[in-house]
Point group: C2
Chain length 229, copies 2
């Protein structure tokens, strides 16, 4: 063992694998899915999974299906926590556009010390959600599970509140959503839902917005119980 900058317990690469596993469901994730997500080759994944398995962070099933162990899941959630705290910080304190914060956090999450993370968290007042509405895991790696529905599933005439927008990796998409008012917290009403053709007409903040199904994919709502307008 040679040691240069105090090798971290979980290397940068490992952190990315764990995070990807968690976001891919955490259980029975195929090698190919991981490879696609991380943009690496399948052999690289097989290799890394073997190492992670050795370290008891994942468990390997048949046909390469990987599942996070309890400690792997915790580690993954802690990476997610840093990521989301950083996004919040970048948006609120440094005033970056919400379409930019994802890629910046993607890099920083691996390099910011505990000490600085604590200061960052203080500076944004211990938020529970990031700018895209994703819940922020607590410092023990507990990630609140929420049951949300896709906006496209909202019945005609119903109201709902946008809770979370997924797919923050694509800045252009976020920019489009922001322009039409599709941000967490926005109140929307489904005016017309043509599910067959995939065309939806919504009222967002008093404005009519028409969108295709792909344009809405990832926008998640919490159904308003009292909302049968």
């Amino acid at each position: 063992m040679q040691e240069q900058p105090t090798r971290p317990a979980v290397s940068r690469s490992r952190q990315n694998y764990l995070k990807a596993l968690l976001q891919l469901g955490g259980a029975a994730v195929p090698v190919s899915a991981l490879a696609r997500r991380l943009g690496v080759s399948a052999p690289s994944v097989t290799n890394m999974l073997a190492r992670l398995a050795e370290e008891r962070l994942v468990e390997l099933g048949p046909r390469g299906a990987a599942s996070l162990t309890a400690s792997g899941e915790r580690a993954a959630a802690l990476v997610l926590r840093r990521h989301r705290l950083l996004e919040t910080f970048l948006a609120r304190v440094l005033e970056l556009d919400w379409s930019e914060v994802h890629e910046e956090a993607e890099e920083l999450e691996h390099h910011v010390s505990e000490r600085v993370m604590d200061a960052i968290e203080r500076s944004v007042g211990h938020p529970t959600e990031d700018p895209h509405g994703h819940p922020i895991p607590d410092r023990h790696g507990r990630l609140p599970r929420r049951a949300l529905a896709p906006l496209a599933a909202l019945p005609e005439g119903s109201r709902a509140r946008v809770c979370e927008v997924r797919g923050g990796e694509d800045p252009a998409r976020l920019t489009r959503w922001k322009r039409s008012g599709l941000v967490p917290g926005a109140e929307v009403r489904m005016l017309e839902a043509n599910s067959d053709e995939g065309v939806f007409t919504l009222e967002i903040g008093g404005r009519r917005v028409v969108s295709g199904r792909e344009g809405l994919e990832g926008v998640m709502i919490e159904r308003r119980p009292r909302g049968k307008a």
Copy 2:
């Protein structure tokens, strides 16, 4: 060539070598000095210097003496710039203690994007000095040269203003200086300078402080022209 995260023009390690070269005077730096400073072995240095020479960032003289080229010096100053901006940011915005900011910046300087650096610089109002009083190079890599004198050289009875405290790598030392009021901007008067025995008595902000020569090493002053007690 394999490329994972868009290999930076100048790798982390290179940046550290360049910065160390600049701080070691930038010209005719012996291998051994670099090795000591960076905490690596001599062969590692020889190796890296060869690569840097190939990239025209340094020039190699006889007996391994390394000198920065113009572009190497610029690159080094830009690393220093990031470092000092980060220190300022960490101290002023995240309110870390000035004894902690150095080591945090040491890591972050390699991983913060241009975009975020710009936002950071804005958030601290484009400072020209870091918390330890070091000048911050401009965005073209120009580093103002200042002629400062060590505090220990101040004649008895003279006044001066502390300009810069060097040696910020050692948090304990910074903490001691801060306790005795030796921070950039402090007004001091040399009450008694026993240079032979290396004992100095100073007046700092109305308080008498006695210190040995080592305890003052790195505290730099700008002589007050009108300051003959």
